[in-house]
């Protein structure tokens, strides 16, 4: 490979067609134009259902009416109600704390497991990897009942990690740390040359130094991806959370918002929509922040020589 000094992160793009006659329209289209086209179409597809939510959030009547994109009146009434009538601020804070902690910790647990699966050969490795995936395939009909019974005992013994606590729900979310993300990370870990570990090993580095000092920084893109996925998953999770968090101050935004529309959807849909939009903001910001790790990351300029 001809190593350039440019750290341009363009790995694996489809090589542009050889027609490099810049200035010609066809050339432009083949180089970047089609990319814009795909991007714009994807944006349109992604965003137009969300416009309904925006519309409902601005509509003072707050009804969910999919026949009209433009609300009859627009205002911030729903946002005002969101903060005055509900504990959205607290919920939001809970969501952020639980979301960030759950994402960070499960990313870490997942990465450690992926490291073991990628770098070590041990008895039970294959069954373990397969088992992790198979467990996720079990239909979750009864999981909530089982978890509820389990946590009711926990609440009796250790109220600090029982129902209506951040710690309890956080622990529960960590149960999913070893899952498909472990596989995703393991695949990524496998692409890092083992010579890097070996060289460090010979130099006397411990396995923890290798893991934290070499491997983790190198897998930054996938850490960012799984971190983001974990954040989104725990922020939007409400099935379990709504059972575990019944005290208003302990609720996450997803639970609180869902409660608004579960009884009578129309009455509160506008407030719900407003809350949903606000809840999506941190995700987008986090993604903005993580993008530089996801694309390019610290490996800019290629690992392999």
């Amino acid at each position: 490979m001809a190593t350039t000094t440019s750290p341009a992160p363009a790995a694996a793009e489809v090589p542009a067609a050889p027609a490099r006659s810049a200035g010609r329209r066809g050339g432009w289209f083949r180089r970047v134009g089609w990319r814009h086209l795909v991007g714009v179409l994807a944006l349109a597809f992604s965003l137009f259902p969300i416009l309904f939510v925006v519309s409902a959030a601005l509509n003072p009547l707050g009804t969910l009416s999919s026949s009209e994109l433009i609300p009859s009146g627009a205002g911030t009434e729903n946002f005002r109600r969101l903060f005055s009538d509900t504990s959205f601020g607290t919920w939001f804070l809970n969501s952020m704390i639980i979301g960030l902690l759950a994402a960070g910790l499960s990313m870490f647990l997942s990465a450690t497991a992926a490291y073991a699966f990628s770098r070590y050969r041990f008895r039970g490795r294959r069954p373990g990897l397969l088992g992790i995936l198979l467990v996720q395939m079990f239909p979750q009909f009864l999981a909530i009942v089982a978890l509820y019974l389990m946590f009711s005992t926990v609440s009796d013994i250790w109220p600090a990690i029982g129902f209506n606590t951040r710690w309890g729900i956080l622990l529960l979310y960590l149960g999913g740390a070893l899952g498909v993300n472990t596989w995703l990370m393991k695949g990524f870990f496998d692409t890092i040359p083992t010579e890097l570990d070996e060289s460090a090993k010979v130099d006397g580095a411990s396995h923890t130094q290798i893991f934290f000092g070499i491997i983790l920084p190198l897998v930054a893109p996938i850490l960012a991806v799984t971190g983001l996925l974990g954040f989104i998953a725990s922020v939007n999770e409400f099935l379990i959370a709504s059972v575990f968090l019944t005290d208003d101050p302990s609720k996450t935004a997803a639970v609180g918002l869902y409660g608004l529309v579960s009884a009578e959807r129309n009455n509160n849909f506008g407030v719900f929509a407003a809350g949903s939009l606000l809840l999506a903001v941190p995700t987008v910001l986090l993604f903005q922040f993580l993008q530089r790790y996801i694309v390019g990351g610290l490996t800019a300029g290629a690992v392999k020589g």
């Binding site: 490979m1 992160p9 694996a12 793009e13 489809v14 050889p18 814009h36 795909v38 991007g39 994807a42 944006l43 992604s46 259902p49 969300i50 939510v53 026949s67 450690t112 497991a113 490291y115 073991a116 699966f117 070590y120 050969r121 041990f122 008895r123 990897l129 992790i132 395939m137 079990f138 009909f141 009864l142 009942v145 089982a146 978890l147 389990m150 013994i157 250790w158 622990l171 960590l174 740390a177 899952g179 472990t182 995703l184 695949g187 990524f188 692409t191 090993k201 396995h207 893109p221 996925l229 869902y258 529309v261 719900f272 999506a280 987008v284 993604f287 903005q288 996801i294 694309v295 290629a302």
Partner: protein, 532 residues
């Protein structure tokens, strides 16, 4: 034989996991001590309530886990275990235990009316049958204690509003209270009595269980508190008789005999009392799944669609996600950060709400889709348009995820591979097909398989969008877009209460199907071979 890597990586002699030649990083050592200290602290914190409450089994588990943690992290061996243990513990507690619970449930009739023990059922039957003794008084109640409000013997100070007479009710029975012993409020309720301390609501509330438990025996029943300011003379109409293992109604004399095969008290005509209990039913739930004519009649078509749905969702989301990921994966592209951030928005929105928004967009008369395209399609009225609709919705919800992981995975593909291909004269399409795609597939195969499994059981995707519609007029149980899990839900939870046992049995069948297909998928994609 010890595992090779253990030898290579860890050395043979236990040295508290530290290398001996002076290369131990103090940071690492301190971190290790801190973490283990925290583990010890948590264990001790957790142990005290367990000792208090005499939960010895849990205490044993706690001790075992703590010892295991210390053993693993203090020993220089078992390096892989050090990395796997924390996640695995969480996995076992919060994923595997519920699965085991589900599996054990499949052999019971667990569900509404069959949740508790037989004793619970008897208690509930008796409690529900307590009726006011006909013609008896509804007393005005004052809860009092003999002496200290917190510890003194409880007693009821009762006034019959009809006669204005007051009584002292204790577990020994009812005694008259003479007027000079008591002070009464305008409505006749006792406000003070000699020798007794009248309890406030708070004081009585603090002894709530005792108040509820106090019953003052009378000739025809017992006087029980109804709250803290009224009491009534009641008697249970139905009582359990251990002799005949049955419940007998005191007035009518009807009996309901316990039937431990179904977990109900059943009378001679086959009618049962509402409250039942949980019993083991062996393989009956499984047999029900296999022999149910309705299930058998529609199972195959539902299974086929279930596969088509899961494969379709995975295939479509992956294809679109990858296409968009590749399109945006170019340094020449301006605004790619904006594109990317906005494209993942659907993933950031609450899925439940968005599923409902989509459902409404498919509304025949008012939905945006028909309006926008000038159509008059009853989307959920026809099997194929309904199937198209649910797939489209899942495509919208799921392609962002595939976009995200593809974007990540594309970074891991060495650039020189595609460059080499283009130098060799390969067209971009060929380079993609021959190099990029197979590499991506290797990296993402587990994800795709897991996505398949998730969508195979994607309850809300169907339930919130099409509800299984359309249904054939002659069979309201199995709709054209039903997948096994929505179908099961209808069967298990559409009856007179949820039948968890039955649902668990179906879950096991579904799991077996998905697991087999997934493992075959692994074989085919060689993803498992890659993990060597």
């Amino acid at each position: 034989m010890a595992h090779p890597e253990d030898l290579a990586g860890g050395g043979g002699r236990p040295r508290f996991g530290l290398t001996a030649s002076g290369t131990v990083s103090p940071v690492g050592l301190i971190a290790k001590i801190l973490v283990l200290g925290v583990v010890a602290a948590i264990a001790v914190w957790g142990a005290f309530p367990l000792i208090d409450q005499e939960r010895w089994l849990l205490l044993a588990i706690l001790v075992a886990v703590t010892v295991l943690l210390f053993a693993v992290y203090l020993s220089p061996r078992h390096i892989p275990l050090k990395y796997l243990l924390p996640g695995t513990l969480f996995l076992i507690v919060f994923q595997i235990v519920p699965v085991i619970y589900t599996i054990t449930t499949a052999f019971t009739n667990f569900g509404d009316a069959h949740r508790g023990s037989k004793q619970d059922a008897v208690t509930a039957v008796q409690a529900a049958s307590v009726r006011q003794v006909p013609g008896s008084a509804q007393y005005l109640l004052t809860v009092a204690a003999d002496g200290d409000p917190a510890t003194g013997e409880l007693a009821f100070l009762l006034t019959d509003p009809a006669t204005g007479r007051s009584f002292l009710g204790t577990p020994d029975g009812l005694e008259d209270l003479s007027d000079d012993e008591v002070t009464r409020a305008a409505n006749g309720r006792v406000t003070a009595a000699e020798g007794y301390t009248v309890l406030t609501v708070a004081q009585a509330g603090a002894r709530s269980a005792a108040v509820s438990g106090l019953s003052v025996p009378t000739d025809s029943g017992a006087i029980k508190a109804q709250g803290l300011s009224r009491a009534f003379e009641g008697s249970p109409q139905q009582a359990y008789d251990a002799g005949c293992d049955c419940v007998r109604d005191a007035t009518t004399g009807r009996t309901w005999t316990a039937d431990d095969s179904v977990g109900y008290f059943v009378d001679a005509e086959g009618n049962n009392l509402a409250q039942g209990w949980k019993v083991n039913v062996g393989l009956r739930n499984f047999a029900d799944v296999l022999t149910d004519p309705v299930i058998r009649g529609s199972f195959l078509s539902i299974l086929l669609w279930n596969f088509a749905f899961a494969f379709g969702v995975v295939g479509l989301t992956f294809a679109l996600g990858l296409l968009v990921a590749m399109a945006l994966n170019s340094p020449d592209l301006r605004g790619q950060r904006i594109y990317r951030s906005l494209i993942i928005l659907p993933y950031a929105m609450p899925a439940v709400a968005m599923l409902l928004v989509w459902r409404d967009m498919f509304n025949t008369d008012f939905g945006l889709i028909n309006r926008l395209f000038g159509l008059d399609v009853n989307w959920f009225g026809d099997a194929w348009t309904a199937r198209f609709a649910v797939l489209l919705v899942q495509l919208w919800l799921g392609y962002n995820y595939m976009f995200l992981v593809s974007t990540g995975a594309l970074q891991a593909i060495p650039k020189e591979l595609t460059e080499a291909a283009s130098v060799d004269g390969a067209t971009p399409a060929y380079a993609f097909r021959a190099i990029t795609f197979p590499l991506l597939l290797v990296a993402l195969a587990p994800l795709l398989i897991s996505s398949f499994a998730f969508n195979f059981n994607n309850f809300s995707a169907i339930y919130l969008v099409s509800e299984g519609n359309p249904f054939p007029p002659d069979n309201p149980q199995a709709g054209a877009t039903d997948i096994l899990i929505t179908y099961t839900y209808r069967l298990a939870f559409g009856g007179a209460g949820a039948e968890y046992g039955f649902a668990a049995a179906v879950s096991i069948f579904i799991f077996l199907i998905v697991a087999v297909v997934s493992i075959l998928g692994f074989r085919r994609t060689h993803a498992l071979e890659e993990i060597n």
